[in-house]
Symmetry: C2
């Protein structure tokens, strides 16, 4: 089922190795309204880190601060191994364009994950099978069309009806690549930012919006995830508060078999 | 009720201004088993940022990556304003000691928070009043004794009994300073790291543990919080997964009046 040709996602998150400075480029295929889809930017940063010759271990945490708009075109990634320990690494990444100010600032933790006691208190969300749900239709933002969203709960109503009486900000949905691609840590990173803005759900309308800071924790290593051999995740997202122009989001990405793969949170600007 | 003399917490998180390089020092009063209490370190970083002459707006997000142990004594804080926009600022902070490797790496977002549509979908946790609960007794780690913990749910049982059959990782508790102090953004930051390790609750025993990365979002500005005029918060914390030596935590800090003040998440190492 999975395509063997280069996938759009791999093209969009392609990097060219440097010494400490690497290169990437925005992708028309993963474009949001005013800049590149943040998930693709985050995945590109993660790809550069994973590909770095000094990298050791699996990604554990990635925080991405979106400081300024990224223009269409090339960008530089300055990767810095801030501290290496026996079994963990701390990285800092700065994305710039044409030598201008930092547009994106990220920190990452990598770790050698040793076997331990395991326990998963979080409950796997109950959901209708992927095959029994129609895909969400294509929309104006190209990035969203690279995904196959199948809503189990919280189907988007962005009609603007009754926008002052808040609707639920909760969503449960299957997320896969529109052109199926085996889930790896890169696509997991990207999917952790692939929820529609919680404020759109809560207000039932599109409003000016931008993620300011995104943090994703990985609960599987690369090998664990490869062994899952999946091309979609079951995802849930919710919000706790919208106040004075900023709102939060927290989410979970699950394997169809019931394994919690990643948790994510973000804080975002909105105008409403 | 609130003390007028300098509070231990203010002494512990004191900073000396520099140009870009500031100084702080560890505190015996906020000491954990092998280093300073992470919440005090995070609050010290936040204090330096808030006190910085170039700082503008209120803290929105702070991520602190604990890269290496901090030794008892002085430390330097290199504060860098990575990007300033019209209404937001992105900072990076590196904590070092004696010119050695980075021990703590933080990023922060500050923002001018403009009035907007407000909505708080998160539910205020029901709890017995603070006054009706006995304080948690003093323990060996000095930092914990600076807090007045009153458990509503998830009272710690670290007896080690039945440790292979997991107990709940959920806690609900009141947190105040043992010597009452009006809650500000600094103490809120510190309290966001003041939960006992989720793995201690889940396994009913103390095991080697260390927070690796902590992210806290503030849902109130300094003025909003001052107007609340409170000396304790109602806090909840839970975990979703423990796997291959790392586990997560997510938490909420509420004003007694039902306002969500901050949300927090962390990923931590454990040995079990």
């Amino acid at each position: 089922m999975l395509t063997r040709a280069p996938h759009l996602f791999d093209d969009a998150t392609r990097v060219t190795a440097g010494d400490s400075r690497w290169q990437g480029q925005t992708s028309d295929d993963y474009w949001a309204f005013v800049g590149p889809f943040g998930g693709a930017t985050a995945a590109t940063i993660l790809r550069a880190l994973i590909d770095h010759p000094q990298r050791s271990g699996d990604p554990l945490a990635l925080t991405v601060n979106f400081c300024a708009p990224i223009a269409e075109g090339d960008f530089d990634l300055d990767l810095r191994l801030v501290k290496a320990n026996r079994s963990s690494q701390h990285w800092s990444v700065e994305l710039t364009q044409g030598g201008a100010d930092v547009a994106t600032l990220a920190t990452a933790v990598f770790a050698e994950r040793r076997p331990s006691w395991s326990h998963q208190p979080a409950q796997f969300p109950q959901a209708k099978p992927f095959e029994q749900i129609l895909p969400y239709p294509k929309i104006a933002a190209s990035w969203a069309n690279q995904y196959d969203f199948r809503f189990v709960e919280g189907y988007p109503d962005f009609s603007g009806s009754n926008k002052e009486a808040p609707a639920s900000a909760f969503s449960k949905l299957w997320i896969g690549d529109r052109v199926p691609r085996k889930i790896d840590l890169l696509s997991l990173m990207s999917m952790s930012d692939a929820f529609f803005a919680r404020v759109f759900h809560a207000r039932r309308e599109l409003v000016p919006f931008g993620t300011v800071s995104l943090t994703t924790y990985f609960h599987v290593g690369a090998e664990d995830l490869a062994a899952e051999d999946i091309s979609r995740v079951l995802a849930v997202a919710d919000a706790k508060i919208f106040h004075k122009s900023y709102g939060d989001q927290n989410g979970e990405l699950w394997s169809p078999g019931g394994r919690l793969l990643a948790t994510t949170t973000q804080i975002a600007y909105f105008k409403a």
